[in-house]
Every structure is written in structure tokens, then in C-alpha cells.
Amino acid sequence: MGKTVLEMKNIHKKFPGVYALNSVDFELKAGEVHALLGENGAGKSTLIKVLGGIYHPDQGQIIIDGKEVKINTVMDADAAGVSIIHQEIMTVPEMTIAENIFLGREPKTKFGTVDFKKMLSVSQELIDGFGLEMKASRKILALSIAQQQMVAIVKAISINAKIVVMDEPTSSLTDSEVDYLFEIIEKLKAQGIGIVYISHKLDELFRICDRITVMRDGQYVGTKVTAETTRDELISMMVGRTLDNYYVRTFHELGDVVLEAKNVKGGLVKDASFQLRKGEILGFAGLVGSGRSELMKDMIGLDPREGGEVFVDGKKVEFHGVTDAQREGLVLVPENRKKEGLLLKNSVGFNLTLAVLGDFIKGISVKKSKETEIINTYVDAMAIKTPSVNQLVGNLSGGNQQKVLIGKWLAAAPKILIMDEPTRGVDVGAKAEIYQIMNNLADQGVSIIMISSELPEVLGMCDRICVMYEGEITGVVDRKDFSQERVMHFATGGR
């Protein structure tokens, strides 16, 4: 391992209400693969965005090759030799590999036109240099995801990057493609390039990384040499925080099975089976992209299911969308309230009643009193703070928007309620209220599936936790065995 190429010292970054980075240090040597590890929201992405010139740190130093640099724009980052390969690969699909490599800095002929010949030959040299079998004249859209990633890497090298950041590079790669990527990474190491590697997959980190830095809640936790650490040590570093105790929950004997999935497949979901009992809150933990939301969408028929069976109250069901599921008393409160959940341009009342219009509209006759009753019931039940039920939902706070979304689905009187990230982007007060409502529902015999990336709330609220990893349920943890370490063990691919 060579000299230090990058040092980030005492980096601070605050967003309104969130201390995203609190005195974070990071160091990278030439020819090293250094992993950044942490739960969702630990601050890894923020740190990388500071390095890439997308965010400006409130405080702190970035030192590259011994010289302090100011990185204010993406161009500054390029000039400093920092290249970031994003999770969603940023290439132009309709252009050739060569055009993408030289995008924005195309070589010119003496007439001022683009020198395609030179572009092609230089690109091909670079590609051959890596031993890649690709023609520089091919269009990006004809390439696999792995090949596109290679192009991004080649592009990074072509602008003389000394530091390459890879953000979850294997999230959409097959096993053999991962091997291929790791060969390329070895070649980069041999050239003395420093690599920052972000991944949730512990197995990979042990294969490819020299050192691992763990972050948690925006803070630096520690750095370990990979050869000298263990999986368990890393997990306890990632999750080592205390449980907040605002989880309200009264536990009961569980009732009969109300919902069962048998070998459901489709999209990201490879094979998943589970049972939900009456009055239960069943947690679904796992990392982003592990297939939790997709499993629910497969069951409801929002995404095409490729196999498996779903049973409600022991009866086999075949849902083709939200309406079918709602008829059997199963509703889904979607994850992204702005995109999938709410109509921001419409009123609180409009949103609250959208799933139950049939209850008060027949033809063109609207039972105004019934409509008002439904709206008032759920504004009160959810304690939605709004100046009027005619207020546009887009004008409410995040917490109140989330309560409108939940209220909309409670209006459908569900027996089974699937809540995907029910407290995302919600302040502490509203969170506590949402937990209270979930508890009351479970008391009344409603069965709840709670998908959440926040481990403390899953541990605090649930009877059992299903943990998913890469489209499969790798473990089901009973309440008596709850621990963050155990959940993280399954969530990172342990069995």
C-alpha cells in the first residue's frame, strides 16, 4: 500500500433538523480499497457527496496528495482527480462507448468538428488496456449493467482519476459479473489508484477491501483492517446505539393465520414464504433493495408475480391490483408518499376519501354528510393538524402528510394493513403518534406488516421480524430472540 492520497478531516454537515455528518474523518491510501460501511442514513452518501462537490461541508478539510483542496463543484472534483461511480450509472444510452467516455471534453479536429476517429482509437486503447472485450463504437444501451459500470470506470481512468468512489457497485450485478468487477478493481489497485467502496454486503467487503470504516448516525465509529476484524464486530459497530423507548406496544396471544405467502417470486423477489397472524405486527427488515416492498407488490398484483401462492384467511387469492386486495380487506400504505401515496395538488378531504368513494357517491349523487363524516373521523383519529379539510395536502408538514396517507387507508377498514416505511421523513412526535395508532389497530385485531429500514422501530413494535436479503427471507426472528445483531446477521446474507 502506498502513500496517503486522500484525507478528509473533521467534516461537518448539517441539514435542517439533521446532523448528517458530525466530525467525520476518512483516509485513503494509493492502491487501497477502503470500504465505507453503515446503515441507511448513517451518512455515507453525504460524505461522498461532499467529496464529489455536490454538498459543501459546513466545516472541515479535504486534503488530496498532501495539498488542501476546495471542492465546490463536480468540475472541481474532476480536476482534483476524484471520480464517483454512482449507483445509477450516469451514461447516455443512445451514445456509443467512446462518446460517453469523452462526453463534455470531445477532442476536436482542426476544423473545430468532433474528432471521432481519435475518440474511437483512444477509447479502444483504454478498453483494451483493461482487457475488456468491448468495441468502443457500440452503443451503451446494448451493454449489460456490469459492462456499463466498466465504461464508467474506464471513463474515470481516462480523466486521470486518482480516487475512484464506487457506490453500491454490485447492487444489480450477477455473481459472475461481480467476479469480473473485482478483477478490474485489482487492476486499478495495481495502478496505484485509491478506491472508496460503499456496500452493505459484508461478504464482498471481506473479499475485496483492505480496510473498513464504519459510520453511524452521521458519526465516525472506527476503522478496521479487514484481515483483523470479524463480521460480528462490524455489525455491532454499525448498530451500537440505544433503543429509544417511545415504542408503545401491548402484546397479546396471536390469533389464526390471516395472510400467507408461499414461494412468491417476481422481480427482485426470488422466493419468499411467510405467515401473518391476527393482531400481529410483523416486521420486515432488510437493506434497501432486498425485495421487501417488491414482495408486497407481487402479492397484491401491482407487480407481475412469476410464481407462488397467496392465501387470505386460508382462502387462495389472486389479486390483480389494489382494488382486488381491498375487497379482501388487505391494503397497502405505500413507501413513497409523494410519488405513490398522495395527490399533493388536492385537498386533505379529497385524499382521505379517494379509496372509499363508493361509500358516498352513487352516480352523480354525493352524500355530502357521509363524506364529511368520513373526513372528520380520520382527521380526528389520525390527529391531522390542518387549518381546514380543504387545505391542499402539499402544504402540510411531512408528518401530517404521512398521517393523511395512513388515514386514507384506515378509511377502507382493513383487516390486514401493509405499511411500507410508515415513519420515513416524519418528526419524532408524529412517529410516536403513528406507533400509538399501530398499537391500537393491533389491539382491535388488525394484522399489520411493517416494512422499515429503521431497526429500532422494528424491534420496538413487532411481534416477529422477517429479514430479507437479495429477494429471499433469510431469517425469521421471534420477539424473545430480538437483537440488532441478529437482524443484521440475516440482513447481510448470513443464514
Binding site: L302, G321, V322, T323, Q326, L332, P334, K339, E340, G341, L342, L343, L344, K345, N346, F350, L354, A355, L357, G358, I361, G363, I364, S365, V366, L392, G394, N395, K408
Partner: protein, 330 residues
């Protein structure tokens, strides 16, 4: 007794609120409308005569019908460019069936009408099931329809002097022109549908956020097919009324009508961002455009100038809309 009185009073209060909201929502366009009317009344003594008013109303009926469809299309982030061609098709066919084939008037009208409606249904099916952009689909349908009308009529207008037929364009019931009655009925029905029915709410939901509508159990396909079918129905009906009024089916009829209908919708506050717009606004847009043409005619302004004035007014109205939007928080 007392309860009934309270209920009545509530209804009155609600009606009052409705009127106030309506005035507030359409303030800019209503002001423009009133200013135009006052100015024209002062400048041209003929403007406020009963004859002229009925004349204006009859002239705006086609645009009014088409704008009903276009307003719905734009609310769901779509567009229907084919309405002008559907006007030509149904009018030409109806006149042709009667004059060339000697078909029974009622049967001719029915068949011509249905053929126009089928074009709307095709638009809807293609847009809903292939995911092709509405602009492209209806642009293609516009060309197909126009071409078909020219082919059928061999490029020539088809004259049609049959009282039973012409009644739909130039007739009167209780002193009111028949086309005005038809448009008024359609307008009232569609206003009720948009404000009171489940379909109306689904329409705004699909326009506001298609993904959220899908997650709410609304069938996006059904909404889209219904909207384009309705647009086809209104256009087809307009084509027959227009042919009846002109005593001939003209394959060149309705050229550019889609643009006037879009202009009326936009003037009436229908947003191209989707999910927003009311027929109560659209009708004012229709009247503003109608009065503008009428007024400029009365003042003997060259009709070519009317395009320029229309264009400027659309720019101004949409700019006002954007200014209003930018004050909203999200």
C-alpha cells in the same frame, strides 16, 4: 319544519360559498371577459342585440363541445389533436349518406356519429394499452381522419339540403338555437360528472399523480379510455351539427379546431401540469375566444389580426396562471 329550514339555509350558504370560490378561482379571466363585453358594448351598438348574442352563442357551440373533451384530456396530462378531423369525418359522412345514398336522416346521423366515436375509442385504447404518447397517437389519428374525409368526399364539399338534417344546425326550440341547447345540455352533464361522480374524482387523481392513483386502486386504463371516447363523442356530435348548419359536409371542416379548444381550456385555467382545471373556467375561455372573434368582426378588423390577438391573449392568460402557481409552496 325547523330542521328543513336549517337544511335549506345550509344549502343556500353552501351555494354562496360556491359562487365566491368560483369568482375567486376565475378572477383574471372573468375580469377580461367583463372588460371585453363592456368595451364592445360601447364601441358597437349591435353587440348587445339579441340577434348578435344568439349568433355568438351559436358560433361558440362547436368549440364549447370540443373544449369539454380537451379539458378532460389535459387534466389527465394528455391531449386530443384529432377532434378537428373527427368533426370533418362525421359531418362529411352524414351529409354523404343522406345526399349520395339517400339514407334515412336518422340512420345517417347515427352511423356517422358512431364512426366518429370509434376514432375516439381507438385513441383511448391505443394510449391506454401501448403507452404511446397521446400527442403522437392523436396526431396520427388527426391525419388519418382528415385523409379519410377527403377520400370519402373526393375532396369536394357534399351539399345537403334536408330540413330534418339542417334542423340540428339552424333550427330553434323556444327561440333558442338547437346547437346552443345541445351544448348547454352537454356542458351541464359533464360539469355534474366532473364535480360529483366517482369518475370525476378518478380523473383528477390520475392527472395529479398517476402512480398514486394506481396505488389507490383506480384503473388508469379505464379513465384514459373513457376520456378519449368522450372527446370523440363530443367531436363527432359537433361535426354533425356543423354540417347541418353549413348545409354541407366539408372534408376541410374543423381544421385547427383542436387548437381553439386547447386555447379555451388553458384560458379557463386548465393546467398543462395535469390534475387541475374545471369546466366552469373552460366555458369562460370558450366565451372569451368567441366574443373576441365576434367583436373584431363587428369592428371590421381584418380576420388575420384575430390570430395575433388570440395568441397574445393565450400567452398573457397562461403567464398569469404560472405567476399564481409560483406563489404556492410546493
Amino acid at each position: 319544519m325547523a330542521a328543513q329550514a336549517v337544511k335549506k339555509e345550509n344549502a343556500m350558504v353552501r351555494f354562496g360559498h360556491g359562487v365566491v370560490t368560483y369568482l375567486k378561482e376565475n378572477l383574471a379571466i372573468l375580469c377580461a371577459f367583463v372588460v371585453m363585453c363592456v368595451a364592445l358594448a360601447i364601441m358597437s351598438p349591435v353587440f348587445l342585440s339579441v340577434d348578435n348574442i344568439l349568433n355568438v352563442l351559436r358560433q361558440v357551440t362547436v368549440n364549447c363541445n370540443l373544449a369539454l373533451g380537451l379539458t378532460m384530456c389535459i387534466i389527465i396530462n394528455g391531449i386530443d389533436l384529432s377532434v378537428g378531423s373527427v368533426v370533418a369525418i362525421s359531418g362529411t359522412l352524414a351529409a354523404g349518406f343522406i345526399s349520395n345514398n339517400g339514407m334515412n336522416v336518422w340512420l345517417a346521423i347515427l352511423i356517422a356519429f358512431l364512426i366518429g366515436v370509434v376514432m375516439g375509442i381507438c385513441n383511448g385504447l391505443i394510449i391506454a394499452y401501448t403507452g404511446m404518447p397521446p400527442f403522437v397517437v392523436t396526431l396520427a389519428m388527426m391525419n388519418i381522419g382528415r385523409g379519410a374525409a377527403y377520400v370519402y368526399a373526393n375532396g369536394q364539399p357534399i351539399r345537403c339540403f334536408v330540413d330534418e338534417f339542417n334542423f340540428w344546425g339552424v333550427g330553434y326550440i323556444l327561440g333558442i338555437p338547437v346547437p346552443v341547447i345541445i351544448s348547454a345540455i352537454l356542458f351541464i352533464i359533464m360539469t355534474l360528472v366532473l364535480t360529483k361522480s366517482k369518475f370525476g374524482r378518478h380523473l383528477y387523481a390520475v392527472g395529479g399523480n398517476e402512480e398514486a392513483a394506481k396505488f389507490s386502486g383506480i384503473s388508469i386504463k379505464k379513465v384514459k379510455i373513457t376520456v378519449y371516447t368522450l372527446s370523440g363523442i363530443f367531436a363527432s356530435l359537433s361535426g354533425i351539427v356543423l354540417a347541418a348548419r353549413m348545409y354541407s359536409g366539408q372534408p376541410s371542416a374543423g381544421n385547427g379546431f383542436e387548437l381553439d379548444a386547447i386555447a379555451a381550456s388553458v384560458l379557463g385555467g386548465v393546467s398543462f401540469l395535469g390534475g387541475v382545471g374545471k369546466l366552469g373556467g373552460t366555458i369562460i375561455g370558450v366565451l372569451v375566444i368567441g366574443i373576441l372573434s365576434n367583436g373584431l368582426n363587428l369592428m371590421n378588423v381584418n380576420s388575420f389580426w384575430q390570430y395575433i390577438v388570440k395568441g397574445l391573449i393565450i400567452l398573457a392568460a397562461v403567464y398569469l396562471d404560472i405567476v399564481k402557481k409560483s406563489r404556492q409552496k410546493f
